[in-house]
């Protein structure tokens, strides 16, 4: 099993913890799906699915080596033994621990000439999905990867043609969710 070993781990629960980006619509859907399939025969959760949140200190209490920026960049699965699995490795482990999906999880351990081809495909799939998240409405996911930009452009153009034009966005700016109460905003404090 690959992953980041961690000697300085704080007391950890017996169930793995999957940290997900609660601001990303795609990640929320995935987390909901994991929550629904990661249950054993008596209904106990086999994976604890938690939003990453906005508190770097709270995250470091789970594991002192966790950097909140890195956790937002890729899925992290905190294992009870202190190992941290990231990206495609985390997805494979989630599948292994989901009774309904375990049938396909053995594939990711198959080795051919020392390589794990199916794990490689899963890693590639993870990168592709991660890069195209802006197409699926993730406003916090940042600028799409270079290779994905033509697809993002195509989707935007299609939306424009069909009348569902997304709001214009500045290239390096994430708009805050509308509160629906712009009038209640206080003006800046008076200048001294």
């Amino acid at each position: 099993m690959m992953g980041t070993g961690n000697a300085g781990v704080v007391a950890r629960q017996s169930t793995p913890i999957l940290l997900f980006d609660d601001e990303c619509a795609v990640c929320r859907r995935m987390a909901r799906w994991v929550g629904s399939v990661a249950c054993n025969a008596i209904g106990e959760r086999t994976i604890d699915v938690r939003p990453i949140g906005e508190d770097p200190e709270a995250l470091r209490k789970l594991d002192p080596t966790l950097d909140i920026w890195k956790v937002y960049a890729k899925s992290h699965l905190l294992m009870p033994d202190g190992t941290i699995l990231v990206a495609g490795e985390a997805v494979a482990e989630v599948l292994r621990r989901s009774p309904g999906m375990a049938w396909c999880a053995w594939l990711f351990s198959v080795r051919v000439f020392g390589m794990r081809p199916f794990q490689g495909l899963l890693d590639l799939g993870y990168v592709i999905l991660s890069d195209v998240r802006p197409i699926f409405g993730c406003k916090s996911c940042g600028a799409p990867a270079l290779w994905a930009r033509p697809f993002v452009w195509l989707v935007k153009t299609a939306r424009r043609l069909t009348g569902s034009k997304p709001p214009a966005r500045r290239p390096h700016f994430t708009p805050l969710p509308a509160t629906g109460d712009a009038a209640s905003r206080q003006p800046p404090p008076p200048r001294r």
Binding site: E54, E57, W69, S140, R170, H172, R185, P188, R191
Partner: protein, 126 residues
């Protein structure tokens, strides 16, 4: 250490992080009552643009250490400050001089040259 110094210390400060995080109380003492050029990044950890800008801003903070202070405010936590300063998205940089806003930039290009220009232009720092 006196009381005001104690209250302005933020628990998010850590070794290697050249950009202290502020809450409403420390914003008051360190920015509004602060002296000299100050830049504040209004950000959130879930914003990938802010993540892309983070190493650049750390480098800029290190470069300007003796001439200008840079802080961050997490708008997901400090909703009052975000509302008070009319933050519409992240990252937004607001430059303060002697407690007064003197410049603002929304979503600047995450490269060192642009960032240096953005945070120093209102103060004429070379």
């Amino acid at each position: 250490m006196n009381q005001s110094q104690t209250s302005s210390r933020n628990t998010h400060d850590r070794p290697g992080d050249g950009i202290p995080s502020l809450d409403a109380a420390s914003f008051e003492t360190r920015v509004l009552q602060g002296q000299g050029p100050i830049a504040v990044e209004f950000m959130s950890y879930s914003c990938a643009h802010c993540g892309a800008m983070e190493p650049v801003l750390q480098q800029v903070a290190e470069t300007l250490r003796s001439r200008e202070r840079i802080f961050r405010v997490n708008v997901a936590v400090e909703l009052g400050l975000a509302s008070q300063y009319g933050i519409e998205g992240t990252p937004t940089l607001i430059m303060f001089s002697d407690g007064q806003e003197v410049g603002r930039a929304e979503g600047p290009d995450p490269d060192v040259a642009t960032m240096l220009d953005v945070v120093t232009a209102p103060f004429g720092i070379q």
